[in-house]
């Protein structure tokens, strides 16, 4: 679980930080392979941080007067952060000094993407990773900190089964963070538009035309504009099917908290959320790879189900031999 999530975190940081890997590594036969490059997106770092010159519309900790995040744009700082993040991620995957390594990764991730969102435009793609890191940090530090609180204050804090292993709390809080992101998105729609969100949902076709046109102007690839118009026309011609499709997506968001019931619910809702993201990506050209990575790593839990299948097949074979 931690390995998949750590890869997602590192890939997100690589977009922002300067490169520390020698360029000849990307020229190696394996990483030069188009399939590897396109599927795993392993390519030289974008170093997007260097394009941010000043804070314009601060958000989160950027509001604090004594915190000037623009120091992160310096090349030397970026290189140092890249190495520190890499070291902390290795420790995180290995389970070494987990409270410290998780806290370090959270602070770096939060600072970098707070700066990214303080430049006058808000990007929601990386939020799920930072908020999950925050939840994991809380899961690791709460038992340490809460133990020192007076009994009266502890009465208001969530009580967990004393036998619950710290690792279980870590996964539980991560899942709470992921579920929360979806529930909030669903609630925002209901609170703002009420039932009109469903009634007017065929107007998503206008957004599809817009998002595909925007994709076209990014690299001037003509297929984007044509594809958008095809989808938008189909949706405008089938308003009731559109309402059914979008309502199912809204319900999935609103009831995402059910994934906290058990592993099977987490896997079922995780797969449904991944399918929803893939459908949105195809229809609207809006891709949320970080959400898919978080859902796959922390909800679907493929290693557990693979192990369960192998164990079941092994058990059947044994009983058949008897």
């Amino acid at each position: 679980m931690r390995l998949v999530f750590a890869i997602a975190i590192y890939l997100s940081l690589r977009v922002m930080l300067p490169e520390i890997v020698p360029p000849e590594v990307f020229e190696s036969p394996v990483l030069k392979n188009e399939f590897v490059r396109d599927t795993l997106k392993i390519r030289p770092s974008d170093h997007k941080l260097e394009t941010f010159k000043k804070i314009k519309g601060p958000t989160g900790i950027a509001h604090l007067k004594f915190v000037d995040l623009t120091f992160l744009t310096k090349h030397s700082v970026g290189i140092a952060l890249h190495w520190i993040a890499l070291g902390a991620l290795v420790a995180y995957v290995a389970g070494l000094v987990l409270p410290v390594s998780t806290l370090i990764i959270f602070l770096i991730h939060c600072a970098i993407f707070t700066l990214n969102n303080s430049t006058g435009s808000t990007h929601h793609g990386y939020q799920i990773l930072t908020i999950t890191l925050l939840a994991q940090t809380c899961a690791l530090w709460f038992p340490i900190l809460f133990g020192r609180l007076p009994e009266k204050a502890r009465r208001y804090l969530p009580r967990h089964d004393p036998d619950l292993h710290r690792r279980d709390l870590f996964v539980y809080y991560s899942q709470v963070a992921i579920a929360g992101c979806y529930v909030i998105a669903g609630l925002s729609k209901v609170l703002r538009s009420h039932v009109k969100w469903i009634i007017d949902s065929p107007d998503v076709s206008v957004q599809i035309v817009k998002s595909h046109s925007q994709k076209y102007y990014e690299y001037l690839q003509p297929e984007w504009a044509d594809k958008g118009m095809t989808y938008a026309t189909w949706i405008a011609e089938n308003p009731w099917l559109t309402r059914i499709m979008l309502t199912s997506g809204l319900l999935l968001e609103l009831f995402a908290f059910l994934l906290l019931i058990n592993r099977a619910w987490a896997a079922g809702i995780g797969i449904s959320l991944i399918l929803m993201h893939l459908a949105i990506g195809e229809l609207m050209g809006l891709h949320f790879p970080q959400n898919i990575q978080a859902d796959f790593g922390l909800l679907v839990n493929a290693p557990f189900w693979l192990f369960a299948v192998f164990a079941f097949v092994g058990f059947r074979k044994k009983t058949a031999l008897r």
Binding site: F113, H124, L157, S193, K210
Partner: protein, 213 residues
């Protein structure tokens, strides 16, 4: 476990506020209460990274708009040249923290009129600031990188390098140092028909001064 939790009859002896307090305590102790607190905090603080109320697509409309950048030869590849996505251009212009809003605030402060509405000149000024930010945001090293033509693909289906008519490579710097145009496109839907209407917001020269036609 406390006595009040084991004996339900003990609750009857509690006053109404005490009963509410006990229920609140019970809720707080449930592990899933974290989810409720998280949702509440996010909906209250809204956009404060890493918290968000995720307001995108929370309402629909029959019309919308977007922006793109062009030069004298037509649209410019926003991502190849400026390293920004096209939705980011719109966000930087129109969002609460965007240039149009900052110009509006300045005008309202200067005129003392809280109902001041942006004129075409004000939008042009906001557009000039946006284009300046985009030009300034291009890292110096990238000015030397060659652009690729995404309409003309090679045998492997990859974009081909772009050249000037004299055969010299077309660089990011060639675009950044040209006159740039910020264009707004309005999209409207009438049942199954879609129409789009482009409008020039501003044209600026290489020094980022507004060019009047």
């Amino acid at each position: 476990m406390t006595e009040s939790e084991t004996d339900p009859s003990s609750n009857a002896e509690l006053s109404k506020p005490q009963q509410i307090h006990e229920k609140f305590l019970g809720f707080c102790k449930h592990p899933a209460s974290i989810l409720v607190w998280f949702c509440l905090i996010s909906l209250i603080v809204k956009e404060q990274y890493p918290f968000s109320n995720y307001p995108m697509y929370s309402g629909w409309s029959e019309r919308t708009y977007y922006f793109y950048i062009a030069d004298e030869n037509g649209p410019v590849q926003a991502k190849s040249v400026f390293k920004v996505s096209v939705p980011t251009i719109k966000k930087r212009f129109s969002s609460d923290k965007g240039f149009a809003n900052s110009v509006l605030k300045e005008r309202r402060e200067a005129t003392g009129n809280d109902k001041y509405k942006l004129t075409d000149e004000d939008y042009a000024e906001a557009g000039r600031r946006l284009l300046k930010q985009l030009r300034d945001g291009v890292p110096k090293g990238r000015l030397d990188s060659q652009l690729k033509d995404n309409e003309n693909l090679d045998a492997k289906g990859k974009p081909t390098p772009m050249f000037h008519p004299d055969g010299s490579p077309l660089l990011v710097s060639d675009i950044v140092n040209r006159n740039l145009v910020l264009v707004r496109v309005d999209i409207m839907r009438k049942k199954t028909e879609f129409s789009s209407e482009p409008k020039t917001i501003v044209t600026t020269d290489a020094d980022n001064k507004i060019v009047t036609e």
